[in-house]
């Protein structure tokens, strides 16, 4: 004990520093391993999409690198010779509509549920969260019947109808959380300043909860962009198809898989969410974690 105390100031300082450096080194080492695991598929997709068909088919060469020169031929083929742009346009239309509907519906509802009371509003708030937990794979069969009944089968407008089931509950849920975190005094100040319900929502709540609005919008956007179950079940002709299903199923035409072009298609289709993510990462993450920490 006495020896340790006597020795501590010098040796302790040095070993603390060494320990910390060692911990940092192992952290980096393992993080690099995980990063390789996480980034391998996108890397390989990019590499493949930049190769010529001949190099993709060549079995002996190293598939992980581009040996015979970078070519944009696959992208040219994708845009010129396939229906990819139609899928893209359809997806844009569907996503825009769904995001708009989602945000209007969920912001109005969240405002009402976070600040006003009416009969059943407490149950409704809980119910919304529960409905978010009902997955699309449980609903797509009855919805198929309903969509068919409405005559919307094989029309991308059916996507505008059914995608809100994926987005509205969660967006409402996180908006309730964001709105509840606005101090009550702020409404009271606005009330005294003379604001009505709509002015309160538009001039106070939405601007103050803007990070939440952005997070919810990003969520609605990525979900409608990536949806797969509903379109694969409800859409079958190329002119109505959306990107996910179109890329995965319709681009595969002949017996020979055009892997280079498929990868190009997948990458272009994945680009919009990735771009949004690159620019709004913090909002994206806030939206992701909001479900469990708010409300």
């Amino acid at each position: 004990m006495t020896a340790a105390v006597a020795e501590y100031p010098r040796a302790g300082g040095a070993s603390l520093k060494r320990n910390r450096r060692w911990a940092l080194f192992t952290s980096y080492f393992f993080l690099i391993l995980f990063a390789i695991f996480f980034l391998t598929p996108p890397y390989y997709m990019i590499v493949t999409s930049l190769k010529s068909d001949a190099e993709v088919a060549h079995l002996a060469s190293n598939p992980w690198i581009i040996a015979n020169g970078v070519t944009l031929e696959q992208y040219r083929l994708l845009f010129r010779e396939t229906d990819f742009l139609i899928y893209f346009k359809n997806t844009v239309i569907v996503t825009l509509c769904v995001v708009t509907i989602t945000m209007v519906v969920s912001v109005l509802a969240a405002f009402s549920l976070s600040r006003m009371r009416f009969w059943g509003s407490g149950i409704l708030a809980t119910g919304i969260f529960l409905t978010y937990l009902i997955p699309d794979t449980l609903l797509f069969i009855p919805l198929f019947q309903i969509v068919r009944g409405l005559g919307l089968l094989n029309s991308y407008w059916s996507m505008v109808l059914v995608y809100p089931t994926l987005t509205v509950p969660f967006c409402t849920w996180i908006m309730i959380g964001y709105f509840q975190s606005i101090p009550k005094e702020l409404d009271e100040a606005a009330l005294i300043d003379g604001a009505g319900h709509m002015q309160m929502l538009l001039k106070i709540f939405i601007p103050v909860a803007l990070p939440g609005i952005i997070a919810a919008t990003i969520f609605a956007f990525t979900v409608s962009w990536a949806a797969f179950v509903y379109p694969i079940a409800f859409l079958f002709s190329a002119d109505q198809q959306v990107l996910t299903v179109g890329t995965v199923t319709s681009l595969i035409k002949a017996d020979v898989y055009k892997w280079g072009m498929l990868m190009a298609g997948a990458l272009v289709a994945a680009a919009p969410p990735l771009i949004v993510y690159a620019f709004l990462m913090d909002y994206y993450i806030a939206g992701l974690t909001a479900g469990a920490t708010k409300g």
Partner: protein
Amino acid sequence: MADVALRDVVKRFDEVEAVRNISLNIPDSEFVVLVGPSGCGKSTTLRMIAGLEEVTEGEILIGGNVVNDVPPKDRDIAMVFQNYALYPHMTVFENMSFGLRLRRTPKAEIRARVEQAAKILDITELLDRRPKQLSGGQRQRVAMGRAIVRNPKVFLFDEPLSNLDAKLRVQMRTEIKRVHQKVKTTTVYVTHDQVEAMTLADRVVVMNGGRIEQIGRPHDLYHRPKTHFVAGFIGSPAMNFLPARLQPNGEALMLRLSPELAFPVPPAHAARYRPSVGKDLIFGLRPEHITEPRGEERDPRYEFSMTVDVIEPMGMETMVFFTVHGKEVCARVEPTAAKPPGQPIRLYANLNHMHLIDPATESVL
């Protein structure tokens, strides 16, 4: 400008009575402070005047009109909140002008009024900043500016200084007083801090348990409290309370505090206290009236010796704590007269300022 009146106002939240039958008249341009411990109903009262809470029973009048059913925006009031409630996404200018813009006041007039209010509060350079970029004191000024700009009939303040540090609080207190002297708007101010209440108010309303304990000028509350609660609440450090009994001593009265300690009641008080002889009473005396023996014409009968428990030097004076019959008592002595803990000290009780409280009615005799 307007007077405010509360008539038999009651507020119930479900079964809980937060405010129990309050009546209060506030004449035009008076500065009234509602003070009391948390949960005494002072904030609820203020919020009812603002229209943020419904009145369960009774009436509230502003400018002679019953406003029970008038929504807040039409009551022509302005309110300053404890956490300022500034709109975080608006600049100071936008914050201050929000109410006017909602009322569609002409742009030029808005600008003129905001600038004038900014000048009064000395925040002209801050008009383009956002609340986040302001210090606590500056936010407080902006919150007041937002109220002044509206030029309302009544200002309502809900503990506006409790989020500030001690130094700033004193500074802003002066500021509020200065503004009130300038604009002379009827003001209702809520605080739990009795010093704030004493320094700011024309009249103080002491509340406790949803009732008004006493209404009066600061000086009156301090020197002539009507109830046990007011006597203990107003003044810092608080008044000393000791159980006591009055004993007849011929013509005079003796005040017995413990088997060892008794003082003659000053003749000026004797007549008033005579009916209470023999009852269990509470004796109250402020710390500043227990000092070291000082001055020329002191009466040796009021001198006594005690053992010091704890001392708290404050600079100008020193608080000396000792125990009488198991109760802690505080005296306020010159720093030079203070003795270290454990040592005896000679003290003098100035009973001309004494209070006697009947514990049965809680009222001051």
